[in-house]
């Protein structure tokens, strides 16, 4: 039976298991929208196409399924660029569908024509321009296979208006995608499982560096088995958080620029780093010339292009993580490594006295207290979606995530404005989970139009604005490195409680720690969107901090009234 290209699009999406898409209609995608009404697809109308991509992204991160965003040609497509780049840097599988002007008009600068496949070429895993109705279904199938396979990532499919209106016969069995396999091929220079096992068994001070790949590979159980069997402590990257329970005794916490001091010191003192599904980003290594000089290094990543990119390693293994670890497990020798673990505990003790949680209450509301209370009051069970900046780092430090995919955050691209739309996507993916947005007053104002989307969808969503009246992380850099010259970082905002009222949602402002608990509990009980404006200490900074490019062990520590002399 002949169907239109637009019908083939929805039929293909339904066959891929898609039930919800995030989008915004317009001229060049109208035939697709018209056909959508005939298919069991829930469409979420966003308020800006950037929001659609972040929602698809949040949906994918929270669920592990592929997120789908849809927009029209020209400005609709270009508005997606930030969201696509965000998904690319964090290896998130999303498929973006854009309308395009008729194939005869391509290249003529027609109304709302833009070369979106050219624009998104370096920020997608792959993209397609479809100009014929019969190519729609096979392209969608291939797009999903590309988005999910290997190291996941975003794929864009640009469909001309005539491809949507044209008719075609689809043989669903014949349009199976054909992709090249590269990863199973051993190349000269590849390390072996035996080499990795020998290094682990011989190490006295080994450390696992766990990244996003742990969850992408589904290796959560294997990595814990590895750590427990060989008694190896684990340090987490920002995107790795949740991959290993925060409360596991061998989980040390986050590494890097705002990582725990004991973690960074342990990396510098280790004699073996076992890097699993992470990519030695500059935010976790600091100065590469002085990075972990005493350590041999094993690196496992499904993306061979990540091996020996930033850090030269002794054993480089281009494999899926779960399989790679499973291969090691039987041959690992149990070794209590008492000396190494007690050395790390000693480092922890020094940090505890500086922790803001342990400082005497001086009447001020600190963001770290807010996050810590939020963790306590939600029993650590919420899915937390953060924006980018100081609040993001405090969340990573003070909200203890025990389950995979319970922290959704923009790591690689560091996209402000990510939190609210990504949280809408996460809530659509996991309607039974409690979802909290943790966002600064700057980032919130970038995409707060999506409040209307959340209201229109009737979502039960909680928003925690960490409001310090500054673009806080930039202000912190200005304080530390630009002599406190606050160029363009003080920021005003609306009265967020009145804003909430205007959107028809519940809102409250909090400026004392004593009121945090009641506000959070009320928000949790409230059905629908709720917003709390936490007016926190304005010029607080995130500690510890490794200045960009500095040696990992040379951290700026929180000044401590107890350990005054150690402040460097």
């Amino acid at each position: 039976m002949a169907i239109t290209g637009a019908q083939a699009l929805w039929e293909a999406l339904v066959r891929e298991g898609v039930t919800v898409v995030f989008g915004y209609p317009g001229g060049a995608i109208l035939p697709a929208y018209d056909a959508m009404l005939g298919y069991p697809i829930h469409h979420v109308l966003v308020r800006h196409e950037q929001g659609a991509t972040h929602m698809a992204d949040g949906y994918a991160r929270a669920s592990g399924r592929v997120g789908v965003a849809i927009a029209t040609s020209g400005p609709g497509a270009t508005n997606m660029v930030t969201g696509i780049a965000t998904a690319m840097l964090d290896s998130v599988p999303i498929v973006c569908i854009t309308g395009q002007v008729g194939s005869k008009l391509i290249g003529s600068d027609a109304f709302q024509e833009t070369d979106i496949t050219g624009i998104t070429l370096p920020i997608t895993k792959h993209n397609y321009l479809v100009t014929r109705a019969e190519d729609v279904a096979p392209t969608i199938r291939e797009a999903f296979a590309v988005a999910k396979s290997g190291r996941p990532g975003p794929v864009l499919v640009d469909i001309t208006k005539d491809a949507q209106t044209g008719s075609c016969e689809v043989d669903w069995d014949a349009c199976e995608p054909h992709l090249t396999e590269a990863m199973d091929d051993e190349l000269p220079g590849d390390g072996t499982a035996d080499e990795a096992i020998a290094l682990i068994n011989a190490a006295e001070r080994p450390l696992i560096l766990a990244g996003h790949g742990v969850m992408l590979s589904g290796a959560e159980r294997e990595i814990v088995a590895l750590a427990e069997k060989a008694h190896v402590p684990i340090a987490m990257t920002l995107l790795g958080i949740g991959g290993v329970p925060a409360h596991h005794p061998l989980n040390l916490g986050m590494m890097g620029m705002h990582g725990e001091a004991w973690v960074n010191t342990a990396i510098q003192e280790a004699d073996l780093l076992i890097a699993l599904g992470m990519r030695f980003d500059d935010r976790v290594t600091g100065n590469l010339r002085t990075y972990a000089l005493n350590a041999k290094k094993i690196h496992v990543d499904i993306d061979r292009a990540e091996l020996n990119k930033n850090v030269r390693v002794d054993v480089a293994i281009a494999k899926d993580l779960r399989g790679a670890i499973a291969e090691w497990l039987p041959k690992l020798v149990a070794n209590p490594r008492q000396g190494w673990l007690s050395r790390i505990n000693e480092l922890k003790g020094d940090s505890a006295v500086r922790d803001i949680q342990n400082l005497p209450d001086n009447g001020h509301l600190y963001a770290a207290h807010v996050i810590n209370d939020l963790w306590r009051l939600t029993d650590g069970n919420a899915v937390v979606v953060t924006d980018v900046g100081q609040h993001q780092m405090w969340e990573a430090q003070y909200y203890k995530h025990d389950t995979p995919r319970s922290l959704v955050t923009s790591g690689g691209l560091g996209t402000m404005g990510f939190a609210l739309p990504a949280a809408i996507g996460a809530k659509m993916a996991c309607p039974d989970k409690e979802v909290w947005v943790v966002v600064g007053d700057g980032g919130f104002q970038m995409t707060m139009c999506e409040l209307a989307t959340a209201v229109q969808e009737g979502l039960d969503l909680n928003i925690c604005i960490v409001n310090n009246g500054f673009l806080g992380m930039v202000r912190q850099w200005q304080e530390f490195f630009y002599d406190k010259r606050y160029a363009a970082t003080p920021i005003t905002g609306p009265d967020f409680v009145k804003l909430a009222e205007a959107f028809g949602i519940w809102g409250r402002a909090v400026d004392r720690r004593a009121d945090v608990e009641n506000a959070v509990n009320t928000a949790r009980r409230h059905r629908g969107v709720s917003l709390i404006d936490f007016r926190v200490e304005q010029e607080d900074s995130v500690y510890p901090m490794v200045p960009a490019g500095a040696d990992l062990h040379k951290m700026i520590r929180r000044p401590s009234p107890i350990v005054e002399t150690a402040a460097d």
């Binding site: 895993k125 321009l129 290997g150 054909h178 396999e181 990863m183 061979r304 091996l307 399989g323």
Partner: protein, 184 residues
């Protein structure tokens, strides 16, 4: 050092752009690039010469494999190979100098492919060194114009790079569940 890659790609619109864009995006400088058909329908072959170290070459190869239309990549610098460059050189040649130029052409086993009253066009094939050397000896006579194809290269012996068709395998829709269990 210099690395020469043979890259098998689907013959589809925009593929050259994807490959070239990858080199630019990853900050590799292309010394030379040629592209043409292969003996297999629908498959093109690029020869790309890049100046980089062994780590860079390995990363480049891995990145090339991440491009969907790329079917097979061979780093020819790691094995015995034949490489050729083709040049057309228009050189001034009148009266007495014509014979001298033609003798040089013979020495280099090049050919004269066009003659006019005051110039010759010479076709030369060989390694880049040989062409460079011919160019140097012709320069005193006055080189008016030159065009070169850039390097094309192939591994010596049988069965080297030509696994492209066999490298295509089917990926089922449940690809993520089967990670690590691929068979070709």
């Amino acid at each position: 050092m210099t690395h020469t890659f043979a890259i098998y790609v689907d013959n589809k619109p925009g593929v050259l752009n994807r490959v070239a864009s990858l080199f630019r995006r990853r900050a590799f400088n292309i010394e030379s690039l040629t592209v043409g058909h292969t003996h297999e329908p629908g498959m093109s072959r690029m020869t790309v010469v890049v100046e980089t170290d062994d780590y860079g070459a390995r990363r480049l190869e891995a990145n090339l494999y991440k491009l969907v239309p790329v079917r097979r990549v061979e780093n020819l610098s790691t094995r015995p190979q034949i490489s050729r460059d083709l040049a057309l050189i228009k050189v001034a040649a009148t009266g007495d100098t014509r014979t001298q130029v033609m003798q040089l052409v013979d020495v280099y086993r090049a050919r004269v492919v066009d003659v006019s009253p005051d110039s010759l066009v010479i076709e030369a094939t060989g390694t880049e060194d040989k062409i460079d050397s011919l160019l140097e000896v012709l320069r005193p006579y006055g080189v008016a114009e030159m065009v070169r194809t850039g390097l094309v290269a192939m591994a010596r012996g049988t069965g080297a790079a030509d696994k492209s068709a066999a490298r295509t395998s089917r990926v089922a829709a449940d690809v993520q569940d089967n990670l690590g269990n691929y068979s070709v």
